[in-house]
Amino acid sequence: MAAKREAPVESQKTARIKMVLNGEAQDVVFAPYKTLLEVLREDLGHTGTKHGCELGECGACAVIMDGKPVLSCLVLAVDCDGREILTVEGMETDGRLHPLQEAFADLGGMQCGYCTPGILLTAKSLLDHNPHPSRAEIREALSGNLCRCTGYLQIFDAVEAAMVEIAKRGETTK
């Protein structure tokens, strides 16, 4: 049955923050109960960040906040005032894919692609802090990111290939 109503429905977008999203300052107005995940996807149209549980169990929503990987489903957006957020949309620079993106694309690091953004950002954070991780360290870093398609091995291969490529690019720019 459809509702009939005279008075207009109130807007719930009463919270307002400033944050830096993928290098660009943003003013965001949103409903105060929303998580960072919801604000990114629903209020800012950045749907690259995914969700698989919204309970902090699967890692699909991982983004980088102030240099550290966080689960955006467990972060309240009202706590993000003044923060710097990096999502998958911000990984490409100057029209060039990040070496992790290239390696995942070439080496089967993704199948359905749904866990991929969260894994890419978690792996980026690992390589940012530890440019030469062992396979054991890669396994450890990704242990909070579930993937149901690949069986992880091609993901490990891709992270290792990206690690080599990043080192190479670093050499050439020196």
């Binding site: 049955m1 459809a2 509702a3 429905v9 109130e10 719930q12 409903a31 109960y33 629903e42 149209g45 749907t47 690259g48 960040t49 995914k50 969700h51 698989g52 549980c53 919204e54 309970l55 169990e57 699967c58 699909a60 999502t87 998958v88 949309e89 990984m91 490409e92 894919l97 992790l100 290239e102 995942f104 694309a105 070439d106 089967g108 690091g109 993704m110 199948q111 359905c112 692609g113 749904y114 866990c115 991929t116 953004p117 890419l120 890669i138 396994r139 450890e140 990704l142 242990s143 990111n145 579930l146 149901r148 398609c149 690949t150 069986g151 992880y152 091995l153 091609q154 993901i155 490990f156």
Partner: protein, 816 residues
């Protein structure tokens, strides 16, 4: 192109976040839907009061079962679901009402204002309870009481076969249910478009079947409905049914004239389920001293959950492929599916076959031990041969099983390890077989199973329209690669539109490992037709016989004088000038399978069968029962690897899922204490508690493709996305036995079960954990079909005359 490692066509979108999944769609004026789900496993709905929810600010619409009373179901024989329960709920999570509101949270709040008056009914928890309690019947249409469906076949005189045996082995196994757990929660957006028609964007594996169901339930011509299967964030069989929420948002969008979205929570995904059926199986197998099988008898008690889903098919699959790995001259199969008050079971990777394959492969290991034959050697002795016609009239084609076994034994170092490793470490071997596409459609029709359209124009772009669904397996890429191979261009020069019922021709969907073979053959046919037109036009221009033309490197040239050439774009222009606008089609219908003429003989038929062998090495901690998988070797007979990166991903992904099933994954239920409600609830509907293999658990895997092109496969290819899962569970069980000498006849093989079996062993009792009884029941008179070697012609000798399709509900065909 074919056979080379290559970046898949949809890779960029997936690594940049540009791929748009169903829940990523947001449209102007979009409203949100939430479903009220039953807290009771079994109850009658006396009344529903929605008035307070409707008055809640921000609520646009409230729907109940009365608004959508027409039944649907994936199989024509089990149309037993409604979008919202009309008068009865049958499992915890069964939806009873829907709220559509401005905000998702508003809709969720309003759900709490709906009052449902339930009359609690007794709950049936498992098949044995279903057998003991024919009343209350969960569905009125079931075969008898709460027995949904029974199948019984006898191929040859099985008792005679047992009489000829030197040894008879009898083993009972239980395979617990488990679920797909795709990373993407189901989501749908329905839109009433500018013509007033319906468009549904949804995460589905089977847009065509959903299209038909929507037409039926909404009473709209299918031609006025567009289903767009958005790139699917994981399926594994779990998105192959039409789902409640897909009808609800469609109805709401039509009523409100605005887009309506739903995105299920993870808990709700557990209630949608359609996962692996729990199966309790008794295998009786007679063998000669040399291991030759004289007869086999399988009884299978199947827990179906609350609805039909694919269950009738699953009941056949629960025994029909037992004859496709080893030569079994006489075979009796009796299977029964029961209705229980739990979320419905359906097809999960391997559909109905991993459970009996587990039992069969573990029993083979026991037989080998008793007969003192190496398990690999025993399997080689009894392996099926190429082109064999099995006892139940399945026509095999290429068979790489022997090669699979020989290679996996070689690369794993089996001979140096089996029964030779120190206590606590062991190896196990198992094999399997799977279909490359089901030979029959879900509903009877004489039309193609797959279709492809190509459009080529002077821009040089080749556009491929397919009805297939990209669920991560790489179907878009494989189709593009086949067309590119035929036309001598790159996959990057092809644009693929798939999964859209408006744009692409009908394809039955991404299930049963059918897409590469069926849609692939259709794509090749369409490409060959385009190539023929271009060749004719180019031959005139270059004045060379068209037979001499080659298509390669984005050019068309004379094989005898390669400097005589035109570019691919010029070739299209010449063809367009000569023939007009260029568009071609291709289609694929599986070959007729004339061998099996008996009723039910169509299930299990396939254009091509694949074979796998796996060796797994494990460490078992005897104090804790923890199993650590040290390494796994797999050989898979896939005909040909079209893109080895993707093929490896399919094999490793299957093995990953198989290891999870072997060791930890289970969709299990418990009764709440009676002081609460005595309700039957899901033990752990969350990703944290539903244990899966993580990056820390995944062992090293060595995969070897056994390539022998199959004439029916496109460029020789057979499936590789389901078969490699099947041997994993029995291989782990056999490895545990090799490591610590206990038989775990039950899946998953959790530490608790291993510790218990070790305690039995220590106490001097049978060193085993597994089911200790099997229910007595009437299986009905089996259909008796003499096998080919007994002069059988594929007909049953006792089949009652088939009645002219009895009271099957005549399908309403609505025309625009």
């Amino acid at each position: 192109m074919i056979g080379h490692a290559r970046r898949r066509v949809d890779a960029r979108g997936k690594v940049t976040g540009q791929t748009i999944y169903a829940d990523d769609i947001s449209l102007p004026r979009m409203a949100y839907c939430k479903l009220l789900r039953s807290p009771h496993p079994h109850a009658r709905i006396r009344s529903i009061d929605t008035s307070r929810a409707l008055a809640h600010p921000g609520v646009y619409l409230v729907l109940t079962g009365k608004d959508l009373p027409i039944k649907y179901g994936i199989l024509p024989v089990s149309q037993d679901e409604t979008p919202l329960c009309v008068d009865r709920v049958r499992h915890v999570g069964d939806p009873v009402a829907a709220v559509i509101a401005r905000e998702e949270l508003t809709a969720a709040d309003a759900l709490e204002l709906i009052e449902v008056d339930y009359e609690i009914l007794p709950t049936i928890a498992d098949p044995e309870e279903a057998l003991a309690n024919p009343e209350p019947r969960i569905h009125d249409y079931s075969e008898e009481g709460n027995i949904h469906k029974r199948v019984a076949f006898e191929f040859g005189d099985v008792d005679k076969g047992f009489a000829e045996a030197d040894e008879i082995f009898e083993d009972t196994f239980f395979f617990q249910g488990n679920t797909h757990l795709p990373m993407e929660q189901h989501a749908s957006v329905a839109v009433r478009d500018r013509e007033g028609k319906l468009t549904l964007y949804t995460s589905t594996q089977t847009p065509h079947y959903l299209h038909r169901a929507l037409s039926k339930v909404l009473e709209m011509p299918a031609g006025h409905i567009r289903v767009v299967a958005t790139p699917c964030g994981g399926g594994f069989g779990g998105k192959s049914d039409p789902f409640n929420h897909e009808f609800v948002v469609s109805k709401a969008a039509l009523m409100l004239g605005r887009p309506v979205k739903i995105s299920l929570t993870r808990e709700e995904v557990f209630y949608c389920h359609r996962g692996r059926h729990p199966m309790l199986m008794k295998f009786r197998t007679g063998v000669k001293k040399d291991g030759t099988i004289t007869a086999m008898h399988l009884q299978n008690v199947i827990d179906g959950g609350a609805y039909g889903s694919y269950g009738v098919a699953s009941t056949f699959y629960g025994g029909t492929l037992q004859t496709t790995t080893y030569h079994i001259p006489k075979y009796r199969y009796q299977g029964a599916r029961f209705f229980t008050n739990k979320p419905p079971c359906g097809p999960k990777r391997g559909h109905g076959t991993p459970q009996p394959r587990f039992g069969q492969e573990v029993q083979i290991d026991k037989i080998a031990e008793k007969l003192k034959i190496d398990p690999a050697e025993l399997r080689l002795r009894i392996a099926v041969k190429p082109n064999e016609l099995t006892a139940n009239f399945l026509q095999l084609g290429t068979v790489g099983l022997e090669q699979c076994i020989r290679r996996v034994v070689a690369i794993s170092g089996w001979k140096d390890k089996f029964r030779k490793l120190p206590e606590g470490r062991g190896v196990g071997l198992a094999c399997s077989c799977y279909l490359t596409g089901a030979g029959l459609s879900i509903y009877w029709n004489a039309m193609p199973h797959s279709g492809i359209q190509l459009k080529l124009d002077r821009s040089g772009c080749v556009t491929l329209f397919a009805g297939t669904t990209e669920i991560g397996q790489g179907s878009d890429d494989v189709l593009a690669a086949m067309v590119a191979e035929v036309l001598g261009i790159k996959t990057f020069d092809i644009r693929v539109y798939s999964g859209d019922t408006d744009l692409g021709p009908v394809d039955l969907g991404s299930y049963s490992s059918r897409v590469t073979l069926m849609a692939g053959n259709a794509a090749i046919q369409a490409a060959e037709r385009a190539k023929a037109m271009m060749a004719e036009a180019v031959a005139d221009k270059l004045e060379v016989p068209k037979e001499r033309l080659r298509f390669a490197d984005s050019a068309v040239f004379d094989a005898a004088a390669p400097e005589k050439r035109v570019t691919f774009v010029e070739a299209i222009c010449l063809a367009e000038a000569r023939f007009g606008t260029i568009g071609t089609v291709g289609s694929y219908t599986p070959p007729k399978f004339p061998a099996a003429k008996y009723k039910g003989g169509g299930v299990g038929t396939s254009p091509a069968y694949t074979f796998s062998a796996t060796v797994v090495e494990v460490d078992v901690d005897t104090a804790t029962g923890l199993v650590r998988v040290a390494k796994l070797w797999n050989t898979h007979d896939l005909g040909r690897a079209l893109n080895p990166v993707l093929a490896r991903g399919q094999v490793e992904g299957s093995i990953y899922m198989g290891l999870g099933e072997a060791l930890m994954e289970e969709q299990d239920y418990r009764r709440l204490p009676s002081r609460l409600s005595h309700a039957l609830v899901h033990k752990f509907p969350s990703m944290l508690d539903y244990k899966t293999i993580t990056s820390l658990d995944m062992p090293e895997i060595v995969t070897e493709f056994i390539e022998g092109p199959d004439a029916r496969g496109p460029f020789g290819a057979k499936e590789c996305g389901q078969g490699p899962l099947l041997p994993v569970m029995p291989a782990v069980a056999n490895a545990i036995y090799d490591a610590v000498g206990v038989r775990i006849d039950e899946v998953p093989m959790t530490p608790e079960k291993i510790v218990r079996a070790l305690a039995e062993k220590k106490a001097g009792r049978a060193p085993r954990y597994g089911p200790d009884h099997f229910p007595e029941m009437s299986w009905g008179e089996p259909l008796r079909v003499p096998p080919p070697w007994d002069g059988g012609d594929g007909r049953a000798i006792n089949e009652p005359p088939r009645q002219p399709k009895p009271s099957r509900e005549k399908e309403k065909v609505l025309t625009p």
